[in-house]
Every structure is written in C-alpha cells, then in structure tokens.
C-alpha cells in the first residue's frame, strides 16, 4: 500500500493546522450559483468517493453493501440537480443590476493601489457623478483589475504613469468608433492609459485574442484581455486599444449608460 505526506513537511509527521482561506491571489469562487455549485460538487465527490471505496471493500454478503451503493446512487441524483443549477446559470450568465460604474472603478483602484510597484504613479480623472450601467459588479471589478494589472506589467521595472479617466459620449460619437449595435443614447468610456513601451501596430489586431501576450514566457497567460473583451461584449459594450511603439497604450471600455446623474 502507498503512503503519503504533505509536500511542505520535511520529515515531520505532525499535521499542519488548517489555514484560513484568504483568496488573495487565485481565482475567486463566484459567490453566486457557480461558486455554490463548485463547492457542492466537491462535497458530493467526497461522499461518493468514500461510499464507492466502502462498497468495494465490503464482502458481497454484507448488509451494508446495498446501503453504501444507495449513497452513491443518491449522490448521482444530487449531481443531476447541480447540473440543472449550472445550466440555469449558463442561461443567465450573471445577475445583472444597475450599478454605479464610478463606485466600482474607485473600488478597483483602492484594491490595486497598495500593490503598485515603486516608480509607477497613478493619475485619476474620475468625475464625482453617478453613472449607472446594467452589469454584475464583480464582473466589472474583474475588467478594471485586469486592465490595471496589464498597464502595471507594461511599465514594470521602468516606472511610468497609469492614467484612469471617465467620460460620457453621445451615441452618434460612439457609432463612429465601435463596430457594434448601439443600444443606448449615451455611453460611458472608461480609459486606462500607460506610458509603457506600447504595442507594435502590426500586433494591434491580436491584443484581445486568447493566449496572445507580449510578456516574457511565464509572465502571463495572455488571457486577461480576452476575458476583458468577453465580459464587456456581454454587457453590450466594446473594448478598444490604441497603441504605438514607444507611445504607450490606451484601453477604452465603452458601456451603454443605464442612467446618469450629475
């Protein structure tokens, strides 16, 4: 029979105490259905795994054999329920609400500020307004954090300025910029500019493609910006990039305004 040890133990057989989960860096489980389904499936798997092993170990004539197989069967039924939950989540994707984009943007900046490397300064031009968009706040937070991280990575080691700005444009102006159906009278544009080395114009068309990255091998998966565009498109908006070699990069996020108060 095999044996086991915790990878961080060095010859010690003392169990390590349970650590409190901080979720500081990895993918955060969705607090809504997706996250619940994930945790529930893990628990179901634990139950069915143990029950399956018990059923295998019990002699054929054991009165508990049938009982353990019933546990496995009950888990199967529960699994079909989690599949249905997930299917309904896929239909709705996320729970959208009217959300003030200014609040989410400020929250993203507060979140990113402590981890800005030395030499990179932040220049914010965010109006004290309430501009509502119809979105899921966590998805917006993810978009903004991805863009801040992307800008910071482009200036890493050299320093520079990250500028964040917000403006509202009329639909006629937006129509000439984004190639998408116009669904609102007004659009809010959130811009993230960096003073990094920029991206060669020949690569501009690839910026939002999955797995495309200009970072050195192992420094990025090339998924961040494709996720940004996927989320923004899902909100009937568009993500645009303007860049030139040695001229920095500007990412503009266009989202239809749900309601605006000045």
């Amino acid at each position: 029979m095999g044996r086991s040890k915790n990878i961080s133990d060095h010859g010690s057989s003392i169990s390590r105490p349970e650590r409190k989960k901080s979720y500081s860096g990895g993918i955060k489980p969705d607090p809504f259905k997706g996250g619940i389904v994930h945790d529930l499936n893990t628990i179901l798997m634990t139950i069915s795994g143990y029950a399956g092993m018990m059923a295998e170990d019990l002699p054929e004539n054991s009165p508990f054999k049938d009982t353990t197989l019933r546990i496995v069967s009950a888990v199967e039924r529960a699994r079909s329920l989690t599949d249905r939950l997930l299917a309904s989540e896929n239909q709705n994707q996320v729970d959208k609400i009217a959300v003030n984009i200014i609040d989410v943007l400020k929250e993203s900046i507060d979140f990113a500020l402590p981890s800005l490397p030395p030499g990179i300064s932040l220049n914010c031009d965010i109006p004290p307004a309430e501009i509502s968009v119809y979105a899921e706040p966590l998805q917006l937070l993810r978009v903004f954090l991805n863009l801040v991280t992307n800008a910071v990575h482009s200036m890493e080691g050299k320093g520079g300025i990250l500028s964040v700005g917000v403006k509202v444009l009329d639909k006629n102006k937006v129509k000439s910029i984004i190639k998408k159906d116009i669904v609102s009278e007004k659009y809010v544009v959130i811009s993230f500019s960096d003073s990094g080395p920029g991206i060669d114009t020949s690569l501009k068309g690839k910026i939002f493609e999955p797995y495309f990255t200009t970072k050195v091998h192992g420094k990025g998966t090339g998924l961040g910006l494709s996720v940004v565009r996927e989320i923004v498109n899902e909100l009937n908006g568009e993500a645009e990039a303007t860049s030139g070699k040695n001229h920095g990069t500007v990412f503009d996020i266009y989202l239809p305004v749900y309601k605006e108060f000045n």
Partner: protein, 126 residues
C-alpha cells in the same frame, strides 16, 4: 512506486483522493494550495499531478503552466467543481494549456484511477 501530487484546497476531498490512491499503491504528496505546491514541487520525485483549478493563493491554471515549465514530461490531471467563476470554461482552458486529462466533479474515482494508470504507462514508455 509512482508518486502523485494532489493540489486541492478542500481538505476532506483531498483526504478522500489520498485514501483512494494509497489503496491503489501510489505514494501521495499533498498541498492545500497552488502556491505551496509550487514552492515545494520536486520535479525529480513527482510522476503525476492532480490539481484543482479554483483555489486560493494561486489558481490551478497558473500552477499547471508553471509545473509544466519545471518538468515538461510530467502528466497533469486538472479537476474542477464545474461551477464558473467567470467567463470561459476552466477545464477547457486547462486542456488547451496542456493538461493531459480533465475531470469535472463529481466524477468516478475508478475512472480517475484508470486514467492515472494509462498516463503513467505513457510516461514510462516516453
């Protein structure tokens, strides 16, 4: 005897997998998050890695890429609870990023054991 590293933050689930693997004569190393796994990963010792994809500290996709960089020939199985933490299917991404097999929880432990056996045979014939 082959050595399998389990990276999984759910202690109960990890214990269950460990029990199944030990019963099938594998030696097991375990880590409760990706960051810890990467710090202590020993390419020369580990034959196969089973990693969850949604974890604290360091997500499973990054772990997958980094472990593959440390030992290109290693066999990697990615598992996930099926819930979505954002757009895109993480198991599909894991496969695209080089996982040799993917399993969506809850799966049959026997299916996992058969896949491990297949992958280790392949590794030893490489």
């Amino acid at each position: 005897m082959s050595v399998i590293l389990i990276i999984e933050d759910d202690r109960e689930f990890r214990e269950m997998l460990k029990t199944a693997l030990i019963k099938n004569d594998y030696n097991v190393l375990e880590a409760d998050n990706g960051k810890e796994a990467l710090i202590h990963f020993k390419p020369g010792v580990t034959d196969l890695v089973i990693t969850d994809l949604i974890m604290p500290e360091e997500d499973g996709l990054k772990v997958l890429i980094k472990i593959r960089e440390m030992k290109n020939s290693i066999k990697i199985i990615a598992i996930s609870g099926g819930g979505k933490a954002g757009p895109g299917n993480y198991l599909d991404l894991a496969k695209a990023l080089g996982a040799d097999a993917v399993f969506s929880k809850p799966f049959s432990v026997n299916d996992l054991l058969l896949k491990i056996e297949d992958l280790l045979k392949l590794e030893h014939s490489d």
